[in-house]
């Protein structure tokens, strides 16, 4: 039951809970990166909603703003913003993720002139100086929220929500371990869970996840695979991959395992320092952070080992620079370690090219000796 609810939420943009949230006079802001400090937003009754393309491959209006060299995920989201699908948002936090997103937010600001666009600057390095800077940035965001939405965000509330996040993260780890051992879920279910998490208030999401985890599905597969690479919310694509027999039992993508696996818990320290540490250090799982390649490689490797996968699929959207380059290097290194690796370059939300993807996945399974 809950699992189908989760799939339903993942398939709609403005879900029923968002509507309810709004009807209670609360705000919803769009953003696009896991560097967004969720608990702080929620502490101000502001729901952070991650932008996604929701299966939209038609980007004709967006293409006249962004260029065709821009990542299809960004173009797809921009299209939805331009055609009003995201009008339920009360503003945007332009979190510095990758360059494509920066251009996208600039175009959103240029074309739609939303009332609230706040730039959350996120450094690309982790050290004392950048942590201090980022703590300041988070504080600036808090002030911007307070100013725009007339709320007051207390440190106590932030801590309260941080603890809820801790609980969710713990639950997510449990969920992953379930999938590693004796898979009860398809990867496509798991992706729906991730998407739902990014589209719901945390106190709605938690019980939903809890009861979904109690459900059991009959699972058919030939090989167990870990999915890494650029952020992935395409449930349909994952379903197609799994139809070929490659069961996705773990993801290290930023909204997948990357969003909670290594995230630290609240330890009683200064709230802003804590948030800076929590989000910036966790961000090392993303290819946008420099000097942390070894960290990412090890993260993928150790999760692959723990999940006892047969191989790793490194996917990225066409025109994604960060993960396109990262994946080239990862492929070399993982293969060297004896982990079969497949690089998949794809157009976001496009199912037309599925034939070629399937051929590759099938050959990959055959290659893994399955």
């Amino acid at each position: 039951m809950s699992l189908s609810k989760i799939h339903e939420i993942a398939a709609t943009l403005e879900n029923e809970y968002v509507r309810k949230w709004k009807s209670e006079g609360n705000a919803v802001v769009g953003h696009a990166c896991i560097a967004m400090p969720k608990e702080m937003a929620e502490a101000g009754k502001i729901l952070p909603f991650r932008l996604r393309g929701a299966g939209n491959a038609d980007t004709s209006t967006a293409d006249s703003y962004l260029s065709r060299y821009n990542c299809s995920l960004c173009r797809s989201c921009l299209e939805l913003v331009l055609n009003g699908s995201y009008d339920f948002l009360d503003g945007f936090v332009r979190v510095r993720g990758c360059d494509h997103w920066m251009g996208t937010f600039d175009e959103i600001a240029h074309a739609r002139k939303p009332e609230f666009v706040h730039y959350l600057k996120v450094p690309h390095l982790v050290n004392e100086d950048t942590l201090e800077f980022f703590a300041g940035e988070i504080k600036r965001l808090k002030e911007a929220f307070e100013g725009r939405f007339g709320v007051e965000i207390s440190e106590d509330e932030i801590v309260r929500y941080a603890r809820i996040q801790d609980k969710i993260n713990e639950k997510m780890r449990e969920f992953y371990k379930l999938r590693f051992r004796k898979p009860n879920f398809y990867g496509s279910d798991a992706i729906a869970v991730m998407v739902a998490r990014e589209s719901l208030p945390s106190d709605i999401f938690f019980p939903l996840l809890d009861s979904a985890m109690a459900e059991k599905r009959k699972i058919d597969y030939r090989a167990k695979v870990l999915l890494a690479g650029s952020p992935l919310d395409e449930i349909e694509l994952v379903r197609k991959i799994e139809e070929m027999g490659a069961l996705i039992v773990a993801e290290t993508t930023c909204f997948g395992g990357g969003a909670f696996w290594n995230m630290v818990e609240y330890d009683g320290s200064d709230v802003y320092e804590f948030l800076a540490r929590k989000y910036l250090e966790n961000l090392k799982i993303c290819a946008r952070m420099f000097g942390e390649y070894a960290y990412r490689k090890n993260f993928i490797k150790s999760m692959a080992e723990e999940a006892e996968v047969d191989g790793v699929i490194l996917q990225h959207n066409k025109f994604c620079d960060l993960f396109g380059i990262e994946n080239a290097k990862l492929r070399m290194d993982l293969e060297k370690e004896g982990i079969p690796t497949l690089v998949l370059e794809k157009e976001y939300a496009s199912t037309a090219d599925i034939g070629r993807i399937k051929t590759r996945v099938q050959a990959f399974i055959e290659r893994m000796g399955r």
């Binding site: 004709s60 293409d63 006249s64 065709r68 037309a352 090219d353 599925i354 070629r356």
Partner: protein, 247 residues
Amino acid sequence: MFLGVDAGMRFTKAVMWDGKVLSEIVEETRGDMKPVLDKLKNAGDFKYCCATGSGAELIDFANVIEDDVVCLAIAARDMVDADFVLDIGGQSITAISVDKDGNVIDFMRNDKCASGSGRFLEVMSSALGIEIEDVDSAASKADRKLSITSQCAVFAESEVISYVNEGERRENIIAAVCDSIAKLAVAQANRFGISGRYTITGGVAKFRSITERIRSAIGEEYVEFPQPQLAAAIGAAIVAEEEFRDV
């Protein structure tokens, strides 16, 4: 009589002009252009000839050569009184804004990718086994919306083949091809900014299944160009006439 020749990437078009189109020639642009040139030379007695298009210099008997954006602008103003032209030819899409005298104000052309151009349509229809003349009627029989997303003409072809292999109806696929060309043209038009009366020219404008999709997306005042593939050639003929009177 004046001869206007538009030596395009795909087709060489010519019109014999005397205030209106008296006759026309459309021939494929080939590696060996001699037979085409012979045919043009024998088209009739003309006083002056203007050539345009990417192969203009191949028209060795032309008295004058003019840029195709100029010819298109003139044709659009003089023939249908349009402020904007969206030209979709064999290899590119060009948006042009035109002043009231038929001069170019500004233009924008995509030069990167062949997808979205006329050649793309040809490659696709041949992959589907649909004659180019039948594209419109086939597309009108579509009953399901598909999308082709590849940025690349050649890969788009393999998307098309994927659809074929999934047992999709050819009518639906060709409609998707028309759609994708229309989308690229609309994106180009929007990027350029069209506000006012516009027309669509070039060989691709012959296909209603494409022009109608463009029209419904652009929403400005549209005026149809009669014989749109000849537009640049007509413009060239008018240039020939004007030059002749000046000389």
